[in-house]
Amino acid sequence: MPPLPTRNRQPSKAMQLVMYPLDWLEERSGLVGGTKYFLFRNVPRDSGWFHTLGSATLTAFIVQALTGVVLAMYYHPSPETAYASIQYITNDLTLGWLVRGMHRWGASVFIILLFFHAARVFIFGAYKYPRELNWIVGVILLILGMLEGFTGYLLPWDQTAYWATVVGINLNGTAPFVGEFLSQFLRAGAEINGDTLTRFYALHMLVIPGALIGLILLHLYLVVRLGVTSPPWSEEAAGRERPEPEPVDTGRTGLVQPAPRGGYKR
């Protein structure tokens, strides 16, 4: 193996002091290199604002997750107190109106961005080989996102929530053969009752977000593995090999050993 070209850039003592914890972490886990590998990827020269819709969607999801966790600290999923707890969050708690508003409007933002992102991928033809699996994962994410909307809509437990859920569940019920079984399962009984609310709450905050997070990680893994598609008008050939990153000699002792595999090569 020929000697690697190096850029001699000795950091200052202060910088080394700041970097020490990172070096410590990197030497034991490779996480710093892994994060760099994830964040600092080559993308096609002519990728533009359209390519930011995916990360915008991810940001919207993170906002939903964080505000949702906080709202769960005050919300009561019980038919007697659910509506009152929403009123309490909105009217009495400091900044409760803002957090609930972020969650309520952010839900629409999330769904709209999901559709814009999917439309971008579709129009750019970015679902083609070898990215078909990522399209499939994305469609499942879209469905799960809409299920989040459906299950979350019941939780305010007002008239709109109740009757929208009646209609939504009965729509499921018209599916041939299995529809009525599906709707009775969703309702936790023949009619909407208190268990419907707790069931939707559990689905909304545990089951579906868990599945969403897992699939988002898979989605991102595939994006990193396969790279970003060039726009259709791009003159650059698609599927270009990713060049080896230029090794940097930072003088940090913890980074001399290359990551065993998969990590950031240097």
Binding site: W163, V167, E180, G189, G194
Partner: protein
């Protein structure tokens, strides 16, 4: 391999015909009766098994038969390479009786996976049952006492609200439109729209100032029934505009059948609601109405005609 199959493929057999009969039996059974479905499943399983056995006879054959096939593959290849060493373990696996060994690592792998599957199943099955089964158990509708008959004047519509299970609270609030046809005949129409289940409203005057509240005991709990006189000309749904006449027949909009009705009985001169049932169409009016009662079916589902074949089985327990 693909070329070889053309020449030495399995000969014609009778088994696929029996398999097809089984499938037809299942599909017909979905419409006719569950017994036919069970019979179809059994027929399809037996003939499917026999068919699969027939079709795979060559591959499951003895080692002597398998050997020429593997030898044929290199001949097809344009550039013959060394006889594939990777294929060497394959004959071992299928070569029963000669020097079959079951190595320790294979045993450990299989037993670990099997044990994990067993533990996973033991944990998952009860949890799944807990998630699914309660939705389908004890779902029958209790009788509801609506109070004395005197509260239902003849030929007047009463908007009647009631609770089936007062302990459940407001979420259990239900509405029925009741008309006393005289001679102990009542028309009792559910307010659940046959489109997607929204509450249908009376099209006409509602005498809210004459509302009467009756205290009753329901499911051993104090409960109340409210009776509001109304003079509707029909019923309409606010959600998607479905319209019904006074017998609950659809007159316009998206509903697929007439409004559901309630069975009723009269106990000690009190009107008692029994089970609800579904109705395709009501012929005649009032006491002379001719109604074919179907088991209670979800909104949006046909109970008669070809479309009802899409909904052959309703969930048990109601």
């Amino acid at each position: 391999m693909a070329n070889g199959e053309g020449g030495s493929g399995p000969g014609p057999t009778i088994w696929p015909v029996g398999f097809a009969v089984g499938i037809v039996c299942i599909l017909a059974g979905l419409i006719v009766s569950p017994v036919a479905v069970a019979a179809g499943v059994i027929i399809a399983a037996i003939f499917g098994f026999l068919w699969a056995r027939e079709a795979t006879r060559e591959y499951r054959g003895t080692a002597e038969q398998a050997a020429p096939e593997t030898a044929a593959a290199p001949e097809m290849a344009p550039a013959p390479v060394a006889p594939r060493p990777a294929a060497a373990p394959e004959p071992d696996m299928f070569d029963e009786g000669l020097d079959t060994t079951y190595s320790r690592s294979v045993f450990l792998e299989a037993s670990t996976l099997g044990l994990a599957a067993l533990i996973g199943g033991l944990v998952t099955l009860p949890v799944l049952g807990f998630v699914v089964l309660p939705s389908f158990q004890d779902q029958e509708y209790p009788d509801v006492n609506l109070g004395p008959l005197e509260n239902f004047p003849e030929n007047k519509w009463m908007i009647t609200t009631f609770f089936r299970d007062p302990a459940a609270g407001e979420v259990d609030h239900r509405v029925a439109y009741i008309r006393n046809n005289g001679n102990l005949s009542f028309t009792i129409i559910s307010n659940r729209c046959a489109h997607l289940g929204c509450p249908v409203q009376p099209n006409g005057l509602v005498a809210g100032n004459q509302r009467k509240t009756v205290k009753v005991i329901q499911e051993k709990q104090p409960s109340q029934v409210t009776l509001t006189p109304a003079a509707p000309s029909g019923f309409g749904c606010p959600c998607h505009g479905g319209q019904y006449d006074l017998e609950g027949n659809r007159t316009a909009g998206p509903p697929v059948r007439a409004l559901d009705r309630y069975e009723y009985s009269i106990v000690s001169r009190n009107l008692v609601l029994n089970k609800p049932y579904s109705v395709a169409h009501v012929y005649g009016t009032g006491a002379d109405a001719k109604i074919k009662a179907y088991p209670l079916t979800g909104p949006g589902q046909h109970v008669d005609g070809a479309e009802s074949w899409l909904y052959p089985i309703q969930p048990p327990g109601r």
